[in-house]
């Protein structure tokens, strides 16, 4: 039996996408020009699917910090922290993140994916229960599988459903860890965190919030949804990433638990992988400083988010329920979604095409992520291109629009 036989249906779908035009999973960025523009397949393209929320990838201070570190400390650590040791930058970055979140402990990981994989699989063992929002990111699901804990999903953003499912768990002495996200990456909707925190207290569970898409975006000082919702004290673990608002790569977890440091010798996705290169950490440290020093970036981001969300809604598109930097346009079916996405790219607008089962409720999405670096003229152009394509492909037919609203 061919090892690859099981992929036959997937391979057919993948090949099929190429026959339909540009393959969304093979897009080549020939040259990145700025946080908002790139040359894509020979055309100057407006980038609206980068998660580059604060637009810091080309920030002069971040580039300068990374460049200096690169010259002084070299290109990489060539190994793990437990074997090769921790650089000063690992310690500084962990101390700065702990300070930023007002927590006692922090561990950094080489990617955001590994932060979820490592924390979840290590915290919850085979005797424990993980209770996760059904729409959680794949890294959360993979962390659940790796640790062997018992896993229960609850209906997306539904505190009553969470409560019901916590009640059903057997009284077997295992700990319970609830996991939700600050902003969900597909629809850009926020968790009703105060209600989840109440359920957590009632059931004596722990609560983890993945602030990957909400750090630097929500909260008075940019600490995310927990800060915005005023329930940081109820959140036991905050997980996040450096690859969105901080413009680089890597992940982290902050917490106050007295025994947190033991995870450094228990968490395999932390122990058995090469640690972050010093130049990356230098840019992240600088980006964190910029995030704190320039709250106007966050204000600008939300202004841009509102312009795009309201502009698309006004055209008759069905968008997510909350104003957030993720603006997802629902497209009725997969075939139309593929044509829509291709037409956008041909018109010089790059968004993320999200297809089921990676989307909630089996619904294809044109997922836009807006940046503080976009200007009003660019956002106007995104809305105009969506309108043209939507009209041409019949997504904006008056009847359809009426039915959707």
């Amino acid at each position: 039996m061919d090892l690859f036989a099981k992929f036959a249906p997937l391979a057919a779908t993948y090949r099929g996408l190429s026959e339909r035009g540009h393959n969304p999973f093979k897009v080549s960025i020939d040259k990145i020009l700025s946080p908002t523009e790139a040359m894509v397949e020979g055309r100057r393209t407006l980038m609206v699917g980068t998660n580059n929320y604060l637009g810091l990838t080309f920030d002069a201070e971040c580039i300068e910090a990374a460049t200096a570190s690169l010259a002084e400390e070299g290109t990489g650590t060539t190994g793990s922290r437990i074997a090769n040791g921790s650089y000063g930058a690992h310690r500084r970055l962990e101390a700065e993140l702990a300070r930023f979140f007002g927590r006692r402990h922090c561990m950094v990981f080489s990617t955001g994916y590994q932060a979820n994989l490592g924390m979840i699989s290590t915290l919850a063992g085979p005797n424990d229960h993980l209770v996760i929002d059904a729409d959680c990111h794949a890294s959360i699901y993979d962390g659940c599988r790796l640790g062997g804990a018992k896993v229960t999903r609850f209906r997306h953003n539904d505190p009553d459903d969470l409560d019901r499912r916590l009640c059903r768990l057997p009284d077997d002495g295992g700990s319970r860890l609830i996991i939700v996200e600050g902003i969900y990456s597909m629809l850009g909707d926020k968790a009703p965190l105060a209600a989840f925190a109440e359920a957590k207290r009632r059931h004596g569970a722990y609560l983890m919030v993945d602030e990957a898409h909400s750090m630097g975006v929500l909260g008075r000082t940019g600490r995310g949804l927990a800060e915005e919702a005023g329930c940081e004290a109820d959140v036991d673990f905050v997980v996040g990433t450096f690859s969105k608002s901080l413009g680089a790569v890597g992940g982290f977890c902050v917490a106050d638990h007295d025994e947190f440091e033991v995870l450094r010798v228990a968490c395999r996705p932390y122990m058995f992988t090469a640690s972050l290169p010093p130049s990356t950490m230098a840019s992240v440290l600088k980006a964190l400083e910029v995030l704190e020093r320039r709250p106007e970036l966050r204000a600008r981001l939300m202004t841009n988010a509102r312009q795009l969300h309201d502009g698309l809604a006004a055209q008759g598109f069905v968008v997510g329920p909350h104003i957030s930097p993720v603006v997802a346009v629902r497209i009725p079916d997969v075939d139309l979604a593929i044509r829509f996405w291709n037409a956008l790219l041909d018109a010089g607008v790059y968004v993320n095409m999200a297809l089921p089962p990676a989307t909630p409720s089996g619904m294809p999405l044109m997922r836009c992520s807006i940046s503080a670096a976009h200007d009003r003229r660019q956002i106007r152009r995104i809305i105009d291109v969506f309108h043209d394509v939507g009209t041409r492909l019949g997504v904006l037919q008056p009847a359809l629009t009426a039915a959707a609203v």
């Binding site: 059904a134 599988r145 062997g148 018992k150 229960t152 499912r165 059903r168």
Partner: protein, 84 residues
């Protein structure tokens, strides 16, 4: 209220028939993935619906071992008896 194994199979079949809009005949040896075209998300959503129907917690870790309607019914039967 404790359903027999056959009643559990009947409930699962009814849920599956309605979820797949009656396109498929569902029997004990029906394969969830291959016969009903359930993808990973649909399988997890099915588990969620069945948790509500039977008022039990069915951990996702059971999924890799569940191929047929029978496997699913046996797993639920076991959880229900364990909880009783």
């Amino acid at each position: 209220m404790s359903e027999t194994y056959q009643e559990i199979v009947g409930t699962i079949s009814a849920v599956l028939s309605s979820a797949t809009k009656g396109q498929f005949a569902v029997a004990e040896d029906t394969l969830l993935k291959r016969d009903l075209n359930l993808d990973s998300l649909a399988e997890m959503d099915l588990l969620m619906t069945l948790e509500d129907r039977f008022d039990v917690a069915i951990s996702l870790n059971h999924l890799p071992e569940i191929e047929t309607v029978r496997d699913l019914a046996l797993a639920i039967d076991k959880i229900k008896r364990g909880a009783a």
